[in-house]
Amino acid sequence: MSTDILTTVAFDDQGYLQNPADWTPELAEALAAQEGIQLTEKHWQVIRFCRAKAAETGKSPTLRQISLGTGIPTKELFQLFPKGPAKRVARIAGLKKPEGCI
């Protein structure tokens, strides 16, 4: 998959999308590929949940909120999005950095 799309939008210094309106599913695919992740339906389930939650609350969900909200166990979330699922999903889903600690 081409990651050229990544050069057309702006990110902050930690890799979070600057303008949420720039997000598209194609961008998510490219962002995931950049982090070495091939998005499956399960990944999309998490991404959709996070985007819906962020639209509702204005904040990116924390790891525990994602686990409780999607019903996907912590262990599996770490397999889907290794090394820090909440932050990874937020980046791929075009959301802000999660602020909560849990």
């Binding site: 924390t62 525990r64 912590t74 770490f78 090394k83 820090g84 909440a86 932050k87 600690c101 849990i102």
Partner: protein, 166 residues
């Protein structure tokens, strides 16, 4: 190893009070969320945190907690708690209940559930062998996944790690 070694943090839990359990759990969880490897070593009174019988019964005794005020536990009026009050019957139960309630409101899970989350996220939990022997405990006293190791083993396993003593 061809690639750079991952950052590793090791927490040593030496106290078994409720307020001394949460720092390691929360910081450990935050570390895992940042892609950092986490090891937690429980020793002395800290063993209660991983003992099946006590993990969800940890308490917050106000005695000896200098500077403790009611406002810290979400009580609307913020007044100091004189140390002499802390020894009165029921004070520990009240302080513990207030803190548990406040933590639940902040979506912080109970200790047992929190430890399971940490293990599911890849944290390794160890009980100090000397303390286990001193207290006459066995592997069965601890939650699943906990391994009993010597202090020397722990030092070996945490070579290069950042150590936080609680």
């Amino acid at each position: 190893m061809s690639h750079e070694e991952n950052r590793h943090m090791a927490f040593i839990c030496s106290k078994g009070n409720l307020d001394m359990a949460y720092p390691a759990l929360i910081m450990g969880w935050a570390a895992l969320g940042n892609g950092v490897d986490v090891t937690i070593f429980f020793t002395f009174w800290g063993l209660d945190i991983i003992r099946k019988k006590y993990m969800d019964k940890l308490q917050l005794p106000p005695v000896g907690v200098a500077g403790m005020r009611t406002g810290m536990m979400g009580v609307p009026f913020d007044v100091g708690i004189p140390q002499i009050m802390g020894v009165l019957p029921g004070m520990t139960a009240v302080a513990t209940a207030l803190m548990r309630k406040k933590m639940a409101e902040l979506e912080v899970p109970p200790v047992s559930e929190f430890l399971q989350m940490l293990q599911d996220a890849g944290a390794r939990l160890y009980a100090c062998k000397m303390t286990v022997d001193m207290m006459g405990l066995t592997r069965e006293d601890f939650m699943d996944g906990v391994e009993i190791v010597t202090a020397g083993d722990f030092i070996d396993m945490t070579e290069g790690a950042q150590i936080v003593f609680i």
